[in-house]
């Protein structure tokens, strides 16, 4: 049976709609619908309190003021650990993150270019300080008591590590995200160096 012009037009329209739908889903990245901050996305311009400890100020490369953003730091790459004092996984991972810090600190080719900070989500200053003292954490830790930063980065599981690298405008963007503990500090550092081109 020969199709009428109306039937042909309907078939063409239906086919076109399906093709457009297919193309839409094919080119839309999954991360566009996920809430977690993903690769290439800019790190939110959050202000953090500048520590009073001159050693930590020196580490951050920020000498003056009461607050700073990551852009104020001198380093090319920043590893941001999202942790929670109450999270047993974070507690187990703390010695490994310390090892990562020691590894970087001992590398003259890296220690000015790569810095590590931690953000304690849902934790008060007291809790972050308790965590710091419990594990002798030498890098700066900050409290995110009201979960503001946690919300901005997409409610990631703890611990999670955002590896941030500066773009052409010197703004920090996510190079990659690592959820959970890392295999070994050496392997993780190697991955950071490779993926950030350090």
């Amino acid at each position: 049976m020969t199709a009428t012009p109306w039937q042909v037009m309907m078939k063409v329209t239906t086919g076109t709609v399906w093709i457009l739908l297919w193309l839409f889903f094919a080119i839309t990245p999954v991360t566009a619908f996920a809430s977690q901050l993903g690769p290439q996305e800019p790190w939110p311009a959050v202000s953090l309190p500048l520590p009073s400890d001159p050693v930590l100020r020196h580490y951050l490369g920020v000498k003056e003021g009461d607050a700073f953003t990551l852009e104020d730091m001198a380093s090319e790459v920043v590893v941001v650990e999202i942790f929670n004092m109450y999270c047993p996984f974070c507690q187990r991972e703390a010695p490994h993150v310390n090892e990562l810090f020691t590894l970087v600190d001992g590398r003259d080719d890296l220690n000015q270019r790569l810095k590590i900070i931690g953000i304690g989500v849902g934790n008060s200053d007291f809790e972050v300080d308790y965590y710091r003292r419990s594990y002798s954490v030498a890098f700066p830790l900050f409290a995110d008591k009201d979960y503001a930063i946690y919300e901005m980065v997409g409610k990631v599981r703890t611990p999670s590590f955002f590896i941030l690298k500066r773009d052409a405008h010197r703004r920090f963007r996510v190079a990659f995200v690592h959820s959970g503990g890392f295999k070994t500090p050496e392997a993780f550092l190697k991955e950071i160096v490779k993926r950030c081109g350090l």
Partner: protein, 206 residues
Amino acid sequence: MLMKKTPDIKRWSVVFLVFWVLLPGWVWGASLAFEGQIFDPGPLKPRDSELKVHVGDRAPDFELAAIDGSRVRLSDFRGRRNVVLSFIPAAWTPVCSDQWPGYNLAQSLFKSHNTVLLGISVDNRATLFAWTRQMGDLWFPVLSDFWPHGAVAAKFGVLRSDGMAERALIFIDTHGVISGIHVSDINQRPHLELIAEQLERLSGKK
């Protein structure tokens, strides 16, 4: 040609759509692996009970079974140690699951104030065993207030109408007298400094 190709496009589109819809679920599921084991009841009425004890009262005595089967009696600590009772609403729920791991890290805080911590839940011992295994080795006993259901929580006035307990901290000095009570919003974890302040008060440092 068109009549033949359209069904193929439809079929492949359906396959792709199913894949596309399932993929994010897998990605989010992987990123929430720990939380995936936790039952989330959603926001609950912040408080649903009326206290039956007050600061200055002698704490009602009780005896409960710990996970390992041993019996723990509150009055056994009288004259020797301060006691903090940490009532939690239920095992396998979001806030409770990271409250005691935090107290696990704070062992030195309790010990430095000559204080023992007793975790209490209305769940049975089997449930508490499975749940606390995820927290590592807890240094404090976890007691089951399962049967008669929530009897100890009821004595203190922290048993909710749905059979769960409040998220409550009861501070008891070496004389067995209640020196502090904190019943939190059940949806929120109390901060550690609250405990630190109460412990300082208990040991006479504040």
